[in-house]
Structures are given as C-alpha cells and as structure tokens.
Amino acid sequence: MTDMMRSPEAAARRPAGLVAGGVQAVMRLTDPPMRALQRLIGAARMPYVFLLPNLVFFGLFVFLPIAINIVFSVTGGTALYPAERPYVGAEQYARLLDCGSYLDPGSCREDLFWRGVWNTLTFTVFQMVAMVLFSLGTALVLNRPIRARGFFRAVYFFPVLLSPVVVALIWKWILQRDGLLNAALTMAGGQKILFFVDPGWAMFWSVFVSVWAHMGFYTLILLAGLQAIPRDVYEAAEMDGTRPWRVFHRITLPLLWPNLLVVLVLVLIRSVQVFDEVFVLTGGGPGTATLMIVQYIYTTAFANQVQNFGLAGAASVLLGAVLFILTMIQLFLTRRRSR
C-alpha cells in the first residue's frame, strides 16, 4: 500500500510509529543483558543498578569534595595536596569556636568569622521576611485578572535571568556617590548619601538587591501554588460572604503552605550561602558590616597572603552543618504539616 492510498491519520501516525519501533529495538537489545543481571543479583537489587550512574556523578562532584573539605579542615599549613598537609586534629575548629562571648565577635579569636556569622544571620532574617512578603504579594497580584498580566510576570522574572555579578554592578552604579540615585536626590534638592560608607545602608541595599534579583523566581513558585488551588473553594467562600482577609487566612494561606515552605527553605539556604552579589556590591564593607560567612571562607582560603585552606575548610564544614540542621528542621515541619 502506498502513502497516497493511506488515510491522513495513518500518515500522521507513521513518525510516531517509527520512534516507538526504535525504542522497542533498543529495549530488545538491552533486555537480555538486563535479565541476565537480574538473575545474577536478584530483582530487589535492580533499582541500585539504575541509580548507579547518577550516584557515581553525585559521589564524584558532591561527596568527594565534601570529604576532601573535611580532610582539609583537620590539617594545617599552606600545601595544596592533602597528602602534603600536616594533621592538626580539631585545631582549626577550636580556633573558630574560641570566643569569650559568641554575641561579641570582638572577644573571639577568629573575630572575622563571627562577624560573618552575625552579618549572615542578620541578612538571612531580613531577606527571608522581605522575600516571602514581596514574592507572596506579587504572586497574589499577578494571580488576579489584571491587564497585561503576562507582561508583568515577565518583568518580575527578568532579573532572575541576570548574572549576580551583573545585578550587583548595575546597583553599584545606581548607588555610588555619583550614581543615579544620588543624582536624583540632589536634583530633588536633597543631599548625597554615601550608601556604601554607612553600615545600615550597606546592609539594607544588600538585602534589597538580593530580593530584587531573586523575587521573580519565588513569585513563580507561589503563583503555581495559587493556580493549583481549586476555584470552587473560593466560589463557595464568596457565596458564604466570607471577607477577603478571612479567605486569604483560611483558604489561600493553608493551601499555599507547601509552596511557601519550599520558598522558605530555598530562600534560607540561598541566604546563608550568599556571596557574589554582596561581594561585588559592597566588598563586605564598610569595615566588615556586610562581610558574610562565604566571603570569609573565600578570603581565608584564597585572598589572604597565606592561603589558609584548613581554617576555610573548617568554616565550610560548620556552615554545611548549620545548613543541614536547618534543612532537616524545615523538612520535619513540612512532613508534620502535611500529616
């Protein structure tokens, strides 16, 4: 039978049939060795075979670096290869944790680490609150049938596509002494503000720029959550004459909670890991007012004259441990909530 004689549906099905045939051919080829392997190791162990390739990559690029980092943290000196580094036990950790009072970085032996800890904590708290509030507010607005909704969704998402360095440089040009904002202030009859010389302003803009740059991503997650809430629930509430705040509090927020938790976890992890944007924007200054933990680690390992990989490794392990604990707490809360 020629193609001309076939029905249009049959002609359209032909490419799909070819693909299916190809897949079947591959399956036929791989089937015998897989069956042989299953006979050899048993069906219960087969999932591990399929997981193996991914585990190899994960092991090489995640677990191995973590292990090397831990090795570095218990060694000293400036040699790069672990085999050439002297073992110092917990000396690096003791140095980091040697404090008169953890609330006063000045009383700590490694004061810059603790300044980084407190700055990161401050940044995280403010950034989490601001990020969740602004993302939620934006998602709620973009979920409504407003004019040019698609355009606004794109506008809010656009900064997410920019490199953090580009974001920081743009804002640096806006905020510097002769930047756009100061030009606007002086044109309006005000005084120039040296934003990067005042610790409060520097922290404020670090948080602001971070929220501006990443809000679009979290807005998208929350928007997806809002759109997944069944319309009939809102319609029922409307018929009952429920007030908007009560609708938000009793319907939207509880049903959006899983997405909010995802946002909270992601924002928290990203806040604790913050480096590039703040480093380019403020350089950690003024003084050490915006020096974050990751910048401390980077400086200790690479920017100082004597590159102290051991101390940086120990700080990384402590940071990793804190992140692990925070993630576990969040996961625990998520599970409890979903039960």
């Binding site: 000196g77 040296l194 990067f196 200054g285 400086t299 590159q307």
Partner: protein, 432 residues
C-alpha cells in the same frame, strides 16, 4: 589525458602531505612558552610587540601572552603554583612571597654577571631567605610611592602649595583647605593598600624590625602613621569611601576620583603616570610632588613588578633565552621608555631614560619619582624585601579599615595586626 590528470593529482596530494609533514615537524620543534601578565597601562601592548620581535629572531620559540587582571596574579597564580600547574613565566609583585616557586635561571643565562650588575639589588627581593645567588627574573618596573597633586584645584582655591621638605601635616592641612574652598570630596586619598600605608609609616619611623626572624609590624612609627590615618578620616581630610567602603585586604584605588578632579592629593605611585598622562590630558594640571616628610625621614616605599621564571615551567633554557633578550639593555630600555616606567635596571637608571612619548607633565612626574629613588631610606628597602611584608601589609590594611569605620579601636587593631601576622607566619611554617 586521464593518466596525466591522475599523475598531477598524485603529485599535488604528495606535495600537500609533504608540506603538512614539514609543518608538523616544524611545529614539533617549536617550544611554546606561556607568560602570565597583568597591565596597569600600555605595558601589555609593548610586551606583545617585543615578543613578536623575539619570535622573529627565534623561530623555535613561541610565546603566548596570557593577559589577566592583577587580582588573578595575586589570588589565582599562587594556587596554581602550589598545585604545580603554573605558566612558564609571570609578571608578579609579591616577589618575596612567591620566591619558593621561582626558578633560578643562572645556569642557563648567557651572562649572569650582567644580571648581577644591573638587577642585583632587586634580585634579593626574589630570593628565598638564605639564598644569595639565584637569578629568577628581572624588574619590569621599579615603583616608588608618592603623591599626585591636582595643581589646578590649588590655583582655583588660591592656596599656596607646600614647598620642598613639607611634612605630611602641611600637605593634609593645605589639601583640606583647597577641598573646602572648591568643594572637592577627597582632600587626601590614599590607595587602600598596605604598601601605600607603609609609604607614610616609614617617614613616621616604622622599621618593621625582625625578632627571631619574624617581622614586628606594630612599632612606634607604625602607630604614628596609623593614628594619622584615623585622625584624617575623623577630621574629613580623608573620605571613608576608600578605606572604609570595602572589607579585608581588598585593594581600592582613587584613580577614577583623581581623573575626575575630585581629589586634591592622591598618594599612589609612579606606575600611575602613564595612565594619568593618557586619560587626564589637558583637563587639568597635575603634578607629582616629593614624598612629604615625617619625623623620621622623607622616604617613599619602593616596589615594583618583576617578570620571573617559574619552576612549573618545563623549558628553562628557552625561558632563559627569552629573559636574556627582554632584560638586555636595549630592549629593557625601550620597554621602560614606552611604558613610562621608572627603570629597574641600574645601568639604565644611571644613564637616564628618554621618555619620548611622555607629555611634559608626565616627564616632570617621572623626574620626581626618579629623584625619589635616590632618597629611599634603607628601612624602606628592608620592608619591601622582607618575605613576610605582604602579610604585614594585608593585616594592616584590613584592621585599620575597621578602625576607620568605627568597628574597633586603634589599640584593638594593633593587637589584631600582631596576632594576624603571627598566625599567618605560623601557618606558613607548618609542614608535614
């Protein structure tokens, strides 16, 4: 006809294969050297030009010039060298810190005596302590710290410029007066650099004496200089935007501010001359003035950049040939002249360099810096040559930056600087 075409085709194919084979053989015989290089001004272009000429005379050597930011030289290169993966040559400023990775070219050089004679005093900066003979490279420039002054602002303000042998206090007072009258935001600007800080500290009597082989960073001269810096920030002579706006050891210059006529006196150094000559043009009159005096002396800080051979390279003989060429009097002289650098070559320094491409302003500035070399205090040479000097410089700049913004006091900073230096030297000494 067909047979002729077939023979011609075979002949063509053979010739192509033959030429290709010859090309491959030539490529195999050619050694490629990699040179890591940073530029402040036009020295990358000049070096490229000199390398092409070297390659024309030495067909068996190809040199790849990898131009990188200065930050890469300071932060990436040491890690590369520690892992044994560095280039054949690099232009570096931390000669003492990198000394363990530098290759002694003495066995491969044509005339080691020439090197000793013309680069001798600076070779000491490139040697590990105890070594008195190694020749790892040559100085692509000798730098001297010193102030640039915006002469036009002084004229506009109607303030007389302090004369020869004026003190730092004289200059600070005059610069503040000018800045107040012309509304300039930076009366005095210092590069946020430990090296520049020591330009002031040496004149205040800092010695960085060694006790048990370790530098004693904080002495009376150091304290006098630190107090001056902090007081100048408090009184508005210096703006916090330079020393206070970043953290740690980060470098922050005031080039852009000076070029935009926002700075009255800018303490930087001779390497800025070419850049200012090119970018400021006739926008305003600028001059370099002799380093102001302190209670101890009127000395600046020497420094510079050296092109050095590295142990990670695998072609020492070829590297030596290249450096013999670049360090020769004619070639080095051309390099210094075209880049407007103070020569790091004793013979050329004595003869004097004719900076044909320099404007009268730049030529005058280079004369001031050249004269400053002769007034350098031995302590300044000692500090620059100390293999741990960068550790002290970085600790000083990091901790004094905190004092400037009010995070700590001067006394706390002194304690931290001493502790930072001791800890880093101890870490460096830890071996398996």
């Amino acid at each position: 006809m067909r047979r002729t075409a077939w023979i011609a085709g075979c002949a063509l194919a053979l010739s192509i294969v033959g030429t290709g084979g010859f090309g491959i053989a030539q490529a195999q015989a050619q050694t490629t050297l990699r040179m890591m290089w940073y530029s402040d001004g036009n020295e990358g272009e000049v070096m490229n030009d000199l390398l092409r000429r070297f390659e024309d005379k030495n067909k068996d050597i190809k040199v790849v010039l990898d131009q990188v930011p200065f930050k890469a030289i300071n932060e990436t290169l040491p890690v590369q060298l520690a892992s044994g993966q560095g280039p054949d040559l690099a232009r570096v400023t931390d000669m003492g810190g990198l000394a363990p990775y530098l290759l002694d070219l003495r066995p491969h050089l044509k005339d080691a005596a020439y090197w000793e004679q013309n680069y001798g005093p600076f070779l000491e900066w490139m040697r590990v302590p105890g070594n008195t003979t190694a020749i790892p490279g040559y100085m692509t420039q000798l730098t001297v710290t010193g102030p640039f002054v915006n002469k036009t602002l002084f004229e506009q303000a109607g303030v007389a410029m302090p004369g020869a042998n004026a003190t730092w206090d004289d200059w600070a007072k005059a610069a503040k007066e000018v800045a107040d009258k012309v509304q300039a935001p930076f009366p005095v600007a210092f590069d946020r650099s430990g090296h520049r800080f020591f330009g002031l500290a040496v004149s205040q009597g800092a010695k960085m004496a060694e006790v048990n082989g370790e530098p004693q960073a904080v002495d009376e001269g150091f304290k006098r200089a630190a107090k001056l810096i902090v007081d100048w920030h408090k009184s508005g002579v210096m703006s916090k935007e330079l020393w206070g706006s970043v953290s740690g050891t980060a470098y922050r210059g005031a080039n852009e501010e000076f070029k935009n006529a926002q700075v009255v006196l800018y303490e930087s150094g001779s390497w800025q001359t070419a850049q200012f000559d090119k970018t400021i043009g006739d926008a305003f009159d600028w001059i370099a003035v002799p380093t102001p005096c302190g209670p101890a002396n009127c000395s600046a800080m020497p420094g510079g950049a050296a092109l050095v051979a590295l142990k990670t390279g695998t072609h020492p003989a070829e590297v030596a040939r290249l450096l013999d060429y670049l360090a020769s009097e004619d070639v080095a002289g051309e390099f210094y002249a075209r880049t407007l650098f103070v020569p790091g070559h004793i013979g050329l320094a004595k003869k004097g360099i004719t900076y044909t491409s320099a404007s009268p302003q730049a030529a005058a500035a280079l004369k001031v810096f050249g004269d400053a070399v002769g007034k350098l205090d031995p302590v300044a040479y000692h500090i620059q040559g100390d293999p741990n000097s960068r550790i002290v410089f970085n600790a000083a700049i990091s901790r004094l930056g905190q004092v400037v913004v009010g995070e700590t006091t001067l006394d706390e900073a002194y304690q931290r600087i001493t502790a930072d230096v001791a800890q880093q030297i101890a870490e460096r000494k830890k071996k398996q």
